[in-house]
Amino acid sequence: MDNHPIEQHIPRLRRYARALVRDRYAADDLVQDTLERAWNKLHLWRQGSDMRAWLFTIMHNVFVNQARSRRQEVERSMEEMPVVAVRGHQGQELELLDMDRALQMLPPDHREVLLLVAVEELSYEETSQALGVPIGTVMSRLSRARERLRMLTSPQGMTSLKVVK
């Protein structure tokens, strides 16, 4: 059986969603909602254009709608930041477990940019299109996301974080 092009992108949509929302089930829900919309709007997809970028755009829209109602949770998790700081203490290297958790400390729009660029390897231009923001915004979010993660996951970062607090 031939897979429809949409289906070929599912593994990558799942990877992005997992990094974005962390919880495995919630991530697949996000993918499912994205696919549902994509199938609905398939007639709007331009033949020959990059389907993956199109799917990421849809996922972004679904995510933003969901994130709106989750905003309070995000704010709460920001308050819990010192817990992460303690965990990040040992070792010079970034730790895998901490990465997963530290990512959730980023504002969602910064996390999106970082993941699209670093994990999904979209170009800055594609990222800007997928998220519907100017390239300048992509670059500044990317830079801030990286600096924030560097602080959250390195022992030196922890120190400066405490100073900031």
């Binding site: 429809h4 949409i6 289906e7 599912i10 593994p11 990558r12 799942r14 990877r15 992005y16 997992r18 990094a19 495995r24 089930y25 919630a26 697949d28 829900d29 993918v31 499912q32 909602d33 696919l35 549902e36 199938w39 609905n40 290297e93 970034l94 895998l96 990465m99 997963d100 990512l103 970082l114 993941l115 660029v117 670093a118 994990v119 390897e121 170009s123 800055y124 670059m139 990317l142 830079s143 990286r146 993660l149 560097r150 996951t153 390195s154």
Partner: protein, 253 residues
Amino acid sequence: MNRITETDLQAYVDGMLPDSALADVESHLAATPEDAERVRAWRELNSVLRSTFNPVLDEQVPERLLGRPRQRLHRHALAASLVGIGIAVGATTGWFARGALSGIPLAGSVAPGIARQAAIAHAVYSPEVRHPVEVGADQQEHLVRWLSKRLGTDLRCPKLSALGYELVGGRLLSGPNGPVAHFMFQDTRGGRLTLYVSVQKGESRQTAFHFAQEDKVAVFYWIDGSYGYALSGEISHDALLRVADVVYKQLNP
């Protein structure tokens, strides 16, 4: 040498810097240890991010994400059409009906009441994102007490961890004969099973396991005393039977 910007450094890390600018950035880094360190950390960040999330690519895609929905009904519309109109669980139910319709004539697939009701409840609640259950597994004791009280029996909630399913929680439903207890379980890939427990009309009796396939949803159901049980999931007959067997044994120790 041109002034090196933050954007140049990012692009360098992401491999998006035009070749013509490479030499400038590299000599800047050689002369500026602080930026070299940042670039190193960002690179490491990229590689940690990838190694953290790349394994997702190799996971098996959950069944619920595959295939094209036949007819686009939003989940809520789906629930309304199933519950409100009592429409046949079949060709009109979006995700539920997707994929291989398996060629089973709908009329022939109509299973006895409980299997059908359980399949509908499964189809309605198992795709639910935000409120899959009324009471979560964290309040399991309260959940079981509450549902026991409403059904007028001592319910037990099976433990399926050994089979890879964890309790999500449960809810109270209304069935043709009154209250129904509905438990939901989930495996690590997000596959969900539901256990439907309802009061049976008529005299107390016992039946063997029966199997019904309601489109994508497989159901094992049995009657034990005054209660009917139905275990539903979008998994194979054999896989579901293994779980049903464990459920049965746990409920009848």
